[in-house]
Amino acid sequence: MDKARPIIEMKGIVKDFGGLRAVDHVDLELYPGECLALVGENGAGKSTLIKVLTGIYRPDGGRIVVDGNEVTINSRREAKALGIEAVYQELALVDTLDAASNVFLGGELTIPVLGRFFHILDNRKMYREAQSVLKERLGIDLEGRKDPVFNLSGGQRQSVAIARAIYWKAKVLVMDEPTASLGVGEIKRTFDLVHRATAEGVAVIWISHNLEQVFTVADRILVLRGGKCVGVRRCDETTMTEIVGLIVTGVAAAA
């Protein structure tokens, strides 16, 4: 795992909405195989910054470098093509389809029939492959269930969304408040999922208000305040007190 070169570099990103500067010359570096937490109060610019990265907003200033190449990201599809995936349960999944269908949505495996003209879906193979990703790479066992994902728990749905991103070889997973509607057991499972993903070299951006969870799951923390980056710390080199201080006052409190 080459930790020397970042997979994502956002340099001097600016985003304005009318007279309001939501993101003010923010630099962000993200390395393969790490989990970077993005913290800050509501309105600090976390969501906006991430939307710039995932192609929903275009920055008014600054550059984005992905894997050494400078890029412009004009749409969510372009972000996906670059390997940047936002994992939101609600956005990614079709509730009435089963897990395997969701993992393969848009890229189904098919069996050609009558020459190459007509293709039917290879449901069995997609089921096996999806099970393999979920079980072996993410440690989630759906126990052979083929029912629609709306029957699954929040944590299981999230793992399907992550499995989808991983299957399609995402390099960066963006998770925005991923534990918001989960129970305790599922929160732990989400941490496990993140660790498994990072172990494979995937980089994870974790946006959250919950600093306890951040210190459990993340390697580094980037603090935003008023649209500006006020500090980047390694989790093992800082304390919650210092981070809280940065969030609230923008100044590193005495550790």
């Binding site: 969510r76 956005l91 009435t96 949505l105 929040g154």
Partner: protein, 329 residues
């Protein structure tokens, strides 16, 4: 109201079997009030009548599953039927060719719906309402009050023929076969089916997955038009004639049948066999109400009651009827 976690097995079975239970109940209740209702001859008449609308319901199921609605299927049936019967009667062309033209015409009329909806970005209900009226008007313009009777045998074969000494109408075989192919093949094992479900279930997710949503929407409407034309062929065969009134108002029979059958009105979940049962149930109700002497004017009330009852059952079994989580950024 989205219910996470598993619903109980029992509720799920009620959900799927519901319309069939309705069919059986109808059979028993009306049959006990009026035994002539369940005579083989009457049952035969009911299922033959239903067969045309089952075909339309197959198309409608895909349209609704994809998040749309088609109010024009009755008019497409009428117009493609007119094209076919006028060609068959007034020209020397091969009746089989007339049937092919009918199917092509229906598909084209459906295609128009799909194009107007996606390119003009107008609501499905508005566009198909407009085409319903326009296509119907074209029928009047074309044949006025004329009745085209006495159609070539090749054309009427599918609608008119009964095998096994009159017990097994070919039209019913066609309807059941079409439903089987539509469910087992189209719905479950083609991109057409899969993407239709995705587009209706979570359009945002479908777009983000790279699915060409407009294209597949158009396919559903073209398919509905094709099915309406197939229904026209059956109908022409049954009556060995055509007139301007055929198909009038039938979109409601079809839509009601699809809803009772369990297809979610806002998309994402299609129940093809359920649509068959739902259409059959309504045909039984209409016939049955006549059999027990209910006034013609009360019949729509009976159908309305059936719809409300069905939706109530689905709500109790935890099925969401409102637009599901579609995300939004």
């Amino acid at each position: 109201m989205l219910k996470r976690g598993g619903r109980s097995r029992l509720l799920r079975y009620i959900d799927i079997l519901g319309p069939w239970v309705g069919v059986i109940l109808c059979f028993i209740v009306i049959g006990s009030l009026e035994p002539r209702f369940i005579s083989p001859g009457n049952i035969s008449a009911i299922i033959v009548d239903a067969s045309t609308y089952i075909l339309l319901a197959v198309g409608m199921t895909f349209v609704i599953t994809g998040g749309g609605i088609d109010l024009s299927v009755g008019s497409i049936l009428a117009l493609s039927g007119v094209v076919m019967t006028v060609l068959a009667k007034d020209t020397a062309i091969d009746p089989i060719l007339a049937m092919v033209v009918c199917l092509a015409a229906g598909t084209l009329l459906g295609l128009v719906n799909g194009l107007l909806i996606t390119k003009l970005k107008m609501p499905d209900i508005v566009v198909t309402l407009a085409t319903a009226i326009s296509y119907r008007a074209l029928v009047h313009v074309w044949i006025g009050a004329r009745v085209l009777a006495g159609l070539p045998p090749a054309l009427t074969y599918l609608g008119r023929t009964r095998l096994l000494d009159g017990l097994l109408p070919v039209s019913v075989i066609v309807a059941v076969l079409v439903v089987a192919v539509a469910d087992l093949l189209l719905y479950r094992r083609t991109r057409f089916g899969r993407y239709t479900i995705a587009i209706g279930g979570n359009r945002t997710a479908a777009i983000h997955a790279g699915i060409p949503v407009d294209r597949y929407k158009i396919y559903t409407y073209a398919f509905a038009g094709f099915m309406a034309a197939l229904g026209a062929i059956i109908l022409a065969g049954r009556f060995d004639a055509w007139n301007y009134a055929f198909g009038t108002g039938k979109e409601f029979h079809v839509i009601a049948g699809v809803i009772i059958g369990g297809t979610a009105l806002f998309g994402g979940l299609g129940r093809l066999w359920g649509s068959l049962a739902g259409v059959l149930l309504i045909s039984m109700l209409v016939n049955g109400m006549v059999a027990i002497g209910v006034s013609y004017f009360w019949q729509p009330v009976g159908i309305g009651a059936a719809i409300i009852l069905a939706v109530a059952v689905y709500t109790i079994t935890g099925r969401r009827q409102s637009r599901g989580v579609g995300g939004g950024e």
